[in-house]
């Protein structure tokens, strides 16, 4: 291949025919449209109703994956560096608990911070306080746990799989330890507002979805147009070359894992607001859905490849599949079985497509 394509001309200004590049997201988008259309047709055929022409359903499709989507945007960046983050789901659980405890109202006599072991530190001040506190605490705690992930990986050189596996187990333990397994309920309305929908031209739009899209846009810009993004791709594409090019790999990895952690924290905030509570088993297996979304969206687990736009589409594919099956009244167990197959199939198609391209 390398022998073949170089003698195209003498300089880059020879006016040679440039090969038109199709953005890789396009094929994933086509998969999404294809799946949606299949459900549409099956919908008319099986239940005699339209799948897509339903405002409520369209907003639910995205709503149910928005939290996973926020995590997926973070894990995509980790995957681009050639790593993986398994801790996000447990972090969501733990952070949702902590966030909820900062957002409780005094209506709840059993509020966490009213208990003597917390009240003695003056934490009861947060009861009925501004919703900014739980949001800030959630994001910072997430960033801190992500920073720990990055620190362990950068300083000890152990594989990210192991480091984040450890965090996954510990964070789940923290979530259960925090209230000894009790849910944290009765939250401030100013806070739960965040998890509600608002009306836009007759469409019910969940705020979580807005947060998801804003996060995706910011991270897309960061990956495409900033030095942070360039270094992220470089490290995944060839760590040794990145090092020789003067990139401090350890420092950069810590940043990327901290960003992923921050987004897990934000996901925990949104989930607590939407569920109006924190529960220790929240977010179980979210990390796998997030990784699946990234991979369906074209990210490569070997690093160097992946885009936020692809991940967003991958996330929506997961949402469409779940809603579609529910719409067709397929049982929950079958849904999971088929969902697994779809994840594998999506990646197989992509791998096949890549191979065909490189063989061409």
């Amino acid at each position: 291949m390398s022998e073949a394509t170089n003698e195209l001309g003498n300089t880059s200004k020879t006016g040679l025919k440039k090969v038109r590049r199709i953005p890789p997201e396009l094929s994933i988008l086509l998969v999404l449209i294809g799946i949606a259309l299949i459900f549409e047709v099956m919908g008319w055929y099986v239940v005699g109703d339209s799948f897509l022409a339903n405002k409520q359903r369209l907003s639910i499709i995205v709503l149910q994956v928005a939290v996973t989507g926020i995590i997926a945007v973070g894990v995509t960046q980790v995957i681009i560096t050639g790593g993986v983050d398994l801790s996000s789901g447990s972090m969501v659980g733990f952070i949702a608990m902590v966030v909820a405890s900062f957002a409780q109202t005094s209506l709840n006599a059993r509020a966490v911070f009213l208990q003597p072991e917390y009240a003695q530190f003056g934490l009861s001040w947060f009861i009925d306080s501004s919703p900014l506190w739980p949001i800030l605490v959630g994001i910072l705690l997430g960033a801190f746990l992500g920073y720990l992930n990055g620190l362990v990986i950068a300083k000890t050189g152990i594989p990210p799989f192991i480091a984040t596996l450890g965090m996954m187990v510990s964070a789940r333990g923290l979530a259960k330890w925090y209230t000894e397994g009790q849910p944290v309920a009765l939250l401030n309305e100013n806070f739960t507002w965040l998890g509600q929908s608002f009306n836009l031209w007759g469409f019910p739009v969940p705020r979580t979805v807005i947060v998801f899209f804003i996060v995706a846009i910011i991270c897309h810009v960061a990956l495409s147009y900033t030095r942070y993004g360039k270094f992220t791709y470089a490290i995944g594409a060839n760590p040794q070359a990145a090092r020789v090019s003067g990139i401090d790999i350890g420092k950069h990895l810590i940043k990327v894992y901290a960003v992923a952690g921050l987004l897990s924290g934000l996901a925990g905030v949104m989930l607590a607001a939407r569920a109006q509570s924190g529960q220790p088993n929240m977010g179980i297996s979210f990390e796998l859905d997030a990784i699946a979304a990234a991979v369906i969206g074209g990210a490569s687990l070997t690093g160097g490849v992946g885009r936020i736009t692809g991940t967003v589409i991958g996330t929506i594919i997961l949402g469409v599949v779940t809603s579609g099956f529910t719409f067709l009244k397929v049982g929950a167990y079958y849904q999971e079985i088929v969902k697994g197959a779809i994840i594998v199939a999506a990646v197989v198609i992509d791998v096949y497509r890549q191979r065909k391209k490189s063989r061409a």
Binding site: E3, N6, A234
Partner: protein, 517 residues
């Protein structure tokens, strides 16, 4: 694979030799081979004829189509059209296994061995002798390996893990593996690019014994002296076209260069005199435990300082330490008169250093990224970033200018770098470092594995940069390059500086003496 077990290699050989199959003058005859890739004709009706018991060298600039043809012969690519006759019989190769069963084996430039497995396991993988209960008979496998090695004069323990072997020994294992298929045609793609002189002569001994066995060997190389030493015939390709075939005794080095480039290259190493300025880099007693010790030298602005020494002498390690890739255990580095602890490449870059590494693939290119990204990666440390945002337009302009100056051959800077030839990849990496405006440039094997034309261009560029006052360290295994380009030559042997020679007193003999004493 099953088929080759039913018919043993010996039987196959007997059938081949019995004359039951029509004998032809040529062992392998290839005609009118055409292969197109999107946007480019890689092979335009080329031909090649290989006689039994000869070494047939295949030469041409990078991108001439040599590797493409070899990959077709090894069953990796399928040709668009072409006639292939093996031992007079027409064949069609559908996949690499097909090629092996037909007796064509390729020894790849990038070795394809499994490092955690033993030498024996690597050679016989998929063809392991089975003993009782269908389990693998390791003893028998090792015996076969030993017999094979004895035939080839290789001394390697069959039970050692391949990961522990030197590059040269891995190469030997690859060759033994190819021979174990009882292949008639062996394709070697630049087999000596990572070997020392001693190892090369061992390889040549093996090649000669294979010749004596009646095998045909296609030998791709960029090195002229090897051609005259080992090859019987030579074919030259240029731009995907077949140019000519000659007996190697009938042609001169200049004839071949002329055929390869289609033009005369009068001066290969055009180092022009440059004004030598102040000392910019001063290294004293630099030590990296177990690798090199007490290395001291000075480098001046406008000077090209050659680093010579055998593979394993520590040349590249010294460069890596100066650039902060592997920080030193002891000794001092003074840059522009100030002592600096070079603890990482970014420190080195802040002090105006740049480092083109030896291994394009491993430590140079970001193969997944495009040319533009590859070219701009180092300069992003220093410039063209405002509030974290990359100033892509300015970068694009500068990279484009630099690429034009170095004559990178590509239609588009957005092309993935993996689609470029080795020489053009190297030019992109040089772009990467020149964009940082270095004052000290370390080049480790800047012309390894690249074609004659690109080589001359790189030499001209080095000369030009020295003229502008850039201080250059050039590490090279090619003696003519070191002698032609350097103002002074530092010679290393087993991790120590054994001499520093001025341009006037440096010659091949002196350097070899210092490098091998």
């Amino acid at each position: 694979m099953a088929r080759s077990q039913v018919i043993s290699p010996q039987t196959m050989q007997a059938v081949r030799n019995s004359g039951a199959v029509a004998q032809s003058e040529y062992l392998l005859e290839v005609k009118d081979v055409r292969k197109e890739f999107p946007g480019v004709v890689a092979l335009d009706n080329v031909e090649l004829r290989l006689r039994r018991g000869t070494v047939h060298a295949l030469m041409g600039e990078n991108g001439a189509g040599k590797s493409t043809l070899m990959k077709i012969l090894a069953g990796i690519y399928t040709p668009d059209s072409g006639i292939f006759r093996l031992r007079g019989q027409e064949i069609r190769l559908k996949n690499p296994l097909d090629a092996l069963e037909n007796g064509i084996a390729m020894i790849h430039q990038e070795l394809n061995l499994m490092a955690p497995m033993t030498v024996s396991e690597n050679i016989w993988i998929g063809r392991e002798p089975s003993g009782r209960f269908g389990l693998i008979d390791h003893a028998e496998m090792n015996r076969r390996t030993e017999a094979l090695f004895e035939r080839l004069g290789i001394e390697i323990d069959p039970e050692i893990r391949v990961g522990k072997l030197s590059v040269a020994n891995r190469q030997m294992v690859e060759i033994a593996k190819a021979v174990s298929f009882d292949s008639d045609v062996l394709i070697m793609d630049e087999p000596t690019s990572a070997l020392t002189d001693k190892e090369v002569s061992h390889l040549f001994r093996i090649i000669r014994s294979l010749k004596a066995d009646g095998k045909g060997i296609i030998y791709i190389t960029h090195k002229m002296n090897e051609l005259f030493e080992i090859a019987d015939e030579v074919s030259v390709f240029r731009d995907g076209k077949y140019i000519a075939t000659h007996n190697s005794v009938d042609v001169t080095r200049d004839d071949i260069i002329r055929m390869m480039v289609g033009r005369e290259i009068t001066q290969m190493f055009p180092k022009e005199a440059a004004t030598i300025g102040d000392i910019v880099l001063s290294v004293r007693d630099l030590t990296l435990n177990g690798i090199f010790k007490d290395v001291s030298f000075d480098l001046r602005a406008g000077e090209v300082l050659g680093f010579a020494g055998l593979v394993g002498s520590g040349r590249s390690n010294v460069a890596e330490t100066i650039f902060g890739v592997t920080p030193a255990n002891a000794g001092t580095i003074e840059l522009f008169g100030k002592q600096v602890v070079v603890s990482s490449p970014s420190v080195a870059m802040r002090h105006g250093m740049a480092f083109l590494t030896e291994d394009r693939k491993e430590t140079g290119c970001f193969l997944l990224l495009d040319i533009q990204e590859n070219a701009q990666m180092a300069v992003l440390q220093q410039r063209y970033v405002r509030f974290g945002f990359v100033q892509q337009e300015k970068l694009r302009k500068e990279a484009d200018e630099m690429a034009n100056r170095l004559r990178v051959r590509t239609p588009d800077m957005a092309e993935p770098i993996i689609n470029l030839s080795g020489g053009n990849q190297q030019k992109v990496l040089i772009c990467r470092w020149l964009m940082t405006n270095p004052r000290i440039l370390i080049l480790d094997e800047p012309t390894r594995g690249i074609d004659v034309g690109a080589k001359a261009e790189i030499h001209r560029l080095i000369s030009q940069l020295a003229g502008q006052g850039v201080a250059i360290i050039m590490i090279s295994s090619e003696m003519p390059e070191v002698l032609g380009m350097s103002d002074r030559v530092v010679v290393l042997h087993e991790g120590r500086v054994t001499g520093i020679l001025d341009r006037a007193e440096a010659d091949q003999v002196k350097i070899m003496e210092l490098a091998s004493r």
